[in-house]
């Protein structure tokens, strides 16, 4: 039993990503979408927390990333860019989806 968490807020605007990280369980996945993708960039305070999330897989929606001019090379280590088809696949692979709005 696992959850796909989606985060659509910049971590510099709200504490949503931090809250999601605080509640993600081992085996869960976190997908950053929309303005949430700013949270995936290496070198920030939250990136450290992201990197420390044990047993949680990290994804970012590639369309949102490139739209905002962020190169995948700047992502936190281990974070995978996926497209919408990948998003759908993640939703099917986990038992539920929780949107952190």
């Amino acid at each position: 039993m696992s959850t796909l968490h989606t985060v659509n807020k910049s971590p510099f605007a709200t504490t949503t990503l931090a809250s999601c990280l605080n509640h993600a369980l081992e085996g869960d996945a976190i997908l950053l979408i929309e303005d949430g993708v700013y949270g995936g960039v290496v070198g920030t305070e939250l990136a450290k927390a992201l990197a420390a999330a044990k047993g949680v897989s990290l994804y970012v929606l590639s369309g949102d990333l490139t739209a905002r001019g962020i190169d995948t090379a700047r992502l936190v280590k281990g974070m995978k860019p996926i497209d919408y088809a990948g998003f759908v696949a993640l939703a099917t692979e986990h038992d539920r989806a929780q949107a952190w709005l």
Partner: protein
């Protein structure tokens, strides 16, 4: 409808500044008619929804906080409130409204609906649902 699913309503936003808290409550009231296994989660700014002594006379907006106390009549009896979210906001459980329900299986004894849980317990509750509705 034979299948009973676990529904969790996740409330993370404060009341009045935006409509999410009120419209979340409206879903809970309607959803109660479907006889599912319903829980409410209050964390982050969502805990502000349950504060005592809300008085909206000065802003001309309807005070819907009393409606939480009616949810027991609707068989919505599980309000999970996160301790860490309270503490971070300088609050304790004493700052929250008294919300109770009558337990039909226990001679209609009045019991508290609010259950303060820690962050790990909240994470486990979230991870044990069929449907998560976020507000």
């Amino acid at each position: 409808m034979s299948e009973i699913k676990k529904f969790l309503y996740v409330n993370r936003k404060a009341p009045y500044g935006t409509i999410y808290a009120l419209e979340s409550l409206e879903v809970v009231l309607i959803g109660a008619a479907f006889d599912q296994d319903v829980s409410l989660a209050f964390l982050d700014d969502g805990v502000f929804q349950l504060l005592k002594k809300q008085d909206t006379a000065g802003i001309g907006v309807k005070n819907f906080s009393p409606t939480f106390r009616a949810l027991g009549d609707y068989d919505v009896t599980k309000f999970y409130v996160e301790q860490e979210s309270l503490t971070e906001r300088g609050l304790t459980a004493d700052d929250l409204m008294d919300i109770t329900y009558e337990d039909e299986d226990d001679d209609y004894e009045e019991k508290p609906s609010i259950r303060v849980v820690n962050r790990d317990e909240m994470a486990a509750i979230m991870g044990d649902q069929d449907v998560v509705l976020s507000f």
